[in-house]
């Protein structure tokens, strides 16, 4: 066998052996460099980022979300609201990000938004996404009622974007 062939095979064997090592290291690169951390984009990519976040969320977080809202598998649609803003009342300016969790409103201390309002009941209303990601407001049998625009709520009602929800002296809106 010619010298050249053997030299080529010798170097080729070393190359293949090292290729195996490199491929093996690639397989376990997450061990060496840690898990990949991606930066979340700005708010304009709201729907998309919420989606990626939901897929990537660790199991316990998903589980927690499932317990809170009972609807962990929802997909947020484009143009869906991303935050809840208090526009009138003592809490004016407060915002809460909408991430698929149920938001409870009332004077009770464990509410998401604790209303300091004489006209609010301790468990006054709640806002939650339904299966399609549409946000729903539901009055929880309050004394003085919850108003969407001007109508008093009797059944769970979908919330249009920007529509004022009035509870006592407090007004909240959903915004993009």
């Amino acid at each position: 066998m010619s010298e050249l062939t053997l030299t080529v095979m010798r170097l080729g064997f070393l190359a293949v052996l090292w290729l195996f090592v490199i491929v093996a290291v690639q397989v376990i690169r997450s061990d060496l460099f840690g898990t990949r951390v991606t930066q979340r984009g700005a708010a304009r990519r709201g729907g998309q980022e919420a989606r990626t976040q939901r897929q990537a969320a660790p199991p316990q977080q998903q589980q927690q979300r499932r317990q809170e809202g009972g609807r962990g598998g929802n997909r947020q649609r484009r143009g869906a609201p991303t935050k809840l803003v208090v526009s009138e009342g003592s809490l004016t300016g407060t915002t809460v990000a909408l991430q698929g969790q149920t938001i409870s409103l009332g004077r009770a201390h464990d509410s998401t938004i604790v209303l300091d309002d004489d006209y609010a009941s301790s468990r006054h209303a709640r806002i939650y996404p339904d299966r399609d990601g549409q946000w729903i407001v539901e009055d929880l049998g309050s004394t003085n009622g919850t108003y969407l625009d001007r109508t008093r709520l009797t059944t769970p009602t979908p919330i249009p974007l920007g529509a004022p929800i009035r509870i006592g002296k407090t007004v909240i809106e959903l915004r993009k």
């Binding site: 010798r10 090292w18 195996f20």
Partner: protein, 465 residues
């Protein structure tokens, strides 16, 4: 809400099972030894060896069956361990076959050709690998046999004393007409099971009941008992079986597992002191150990009319250089005896594929050990953690002891390079070791079962008139 300020997201980590990655790597791991086999044939006989098809199919079949069994019985196991073990075993077969081609070291007195035998042992090893994966559903079952495994390991370690020494060490059990085996290779797995079960129960006593002295935690006198017993035992192996490697392996394994279980650096210090003291003490009166140390310190001294094997191994590495002489073109037959196929196989590797190849082989061992330690990190139960640390620690110590001995870093000890070197017990035991590690990693990486939907999480139905 604080979650709104969170700006980073952790990406998902690969596909959950990674069996297809394993399959791809496995194909690669079968093709490399086949390439080496053809290369040896071309270099030695200027023709593609006749057995290449059989060898390819045989190795491929072994790897394929192992892969299918892993896919069925351990679907979430680590994707790298099986390919690396296959590659090392395949390369070992090629190197042994290549040394069989040298008439001087394959005489009938020396046992003749050894590659067919090694292929048979590898098949048995893979069979045991499959058996462990299929029948050991959960590694925690092994925890029940903590003290039984202690007794079995002691019997396996002590038994060779009653059999005649071969090649200067009493580490063999010879059954007339059947063959001989090295029980120490199996004892290392069994004793890791004992250490894991024992330390899991005793770790708190060993870690917490201690006084602080000069930055070290000094354990209580009575807690020193186990380490002293193991130390005495390993010294007895050294004295009565004249086997440096096994003795080092057992004591080192215990110290590693003790350190991992208790997180106390003082155990490492004690272990090093005890092993250094013990080795020096034994070396003063044990001639076998003295010869080994003497050869290590003076490799170029003329002995039996030539040079020592240590020096011959050095010459091999030197002759290979960076890129090696090429497969089948080295002169490791000059080492003589059966040593080139077993203890000194790394010398052949170093000569024929050079420093570059030897480093790749050592990296493969390193990756295999890394996967084992990674498994220990991922394991959820303390027994699994300790067991996988123990098994990968034993494997690492064995690689270190052999590679260090051959390259002249430490005195040579009679142990086999896992998977690479000729030796039936070694290859079978190491396949079993990989199987247990795969079982633990399957348990560790398996996603938790989805929790049953809680009735409390359901939305309350408000019934209105």
């Amino acid at each position: 809400m604080s979650s709104t300020t969170n700006t980073t997201t952790i990406g998902t980590i690969g596909a959950p099972s990674r069996r297809n990655t394993e399959l791809a790597m496995l194909v690669f791991a079968v093709l490399i030894p086949v390439f080496a086999y053809i290369n040896v044939g071309l270099a030695k006989e200027e023709a593609v060896p006749a057995g290449v098809l059989g060898y390819t199919l045989g190795l491929g079949l072994l790897a394929g069956v192992a892969h299918l069994v892993v896919r069925k019985w351990a679907p979430y196991a680590d994707p790298l361990m099986l390919p690396i073990a296959t590659l090392l075993n395949g390369l070992g077969l090629v190197f042994i076959w290549r040394l069989d081609q040298e008439p001087q070291i394959s005489t009938p007195q020396l046992g003749g050709a050894m590659a067919p035998g090694q292929l048979m042992w590898s098949t048995l090893g893979v069979a045991l690998f499959l058996g462990v994966l299929i029948f050991l559903k959960d590694h925690r079952v092994l925890q029940r046999y903590t003290y039984i495994s202690m007794v079995v390991a002691l019997v396996l370690l002590i038994a060779p004393i009653f059999f005649p020494a071969r090649f200067g060490a009493r580490i063999w059990i010879t059954i007339p007409g059947v063959g001989s085996l090295q029980p120490g290779e199996f004892a290392k797995i069994i004793i890791a099971i004992f250490f894991a079960g024992y330390l899991m129960v005793k770790r708190d006593a060993l870690a917490l009941a201690s006084r602080r002295f000069m930055g070290l935690y000094l354990p209580r006198g009575r807690d020193l008992g186990p380490i002293l017993v193991i130390w005495a035992l390993s010294l007895m192996i050294l004295v009565f079986e004249t086997d440096l490697g096994t003795s080092l392996l057992f004591f080192g394994l215990f110290v590693i597992m003790l350190y991992v279980a208790t997180e106390r650096t003082s155990w490492i210090v004690f272990g090093l002191l005890l092993s250094a003291g013990g080795a020096v003490a034994v070396a003063t009166f044990e001639s076998h150990v003295q010869v080994r140390v003497h050869n290590w310190l003076n490799p170029l001294e003329l002995l039996n009319g030539g040079v020592t094997e240590t020096a011959q191994a050095m010459y091999s590495f030197g002759s290979g250089g960076i890129l090696g002489s090429g497969l089948g073109q080295g002169y490791s037959r000059l080492i003589g005896g059966i040593a080139p196929k077993s203890d000194y196989i790394l010398a052949t590797v170093g000569e024929e594929i050079g420093l570059a190849g030897l480093m790749a082989i050592l990296l493969l061992y390193g990756l295999l050990i890394e996967r084992g330690i990674r498994t220990a990190l991922a394991a959820r139960d303390p027994f699994g953690k300790l067991l996988s640390i123990g098994l990968s620690g034993a494997f690492a110590l064995q690689v270190f002891v052999v590679a260090g001995g051959v390259t002249g870093l430490i005195p040579l000890t009679g142990m086999t390079m896992p998977f690479l070197a000729q030796g039936g017990s070694s290859v079978i035991a190491n396949w079993a070791l990989v199987a247990i590690l795969l079982r633990i990693s399957d348990t560790a990486r398996r996603p938790a079962p989805t929790p049953a939907p809680s009735t409390d999480a359901e939305m309350t139905q408000v019934v209105r008139p």
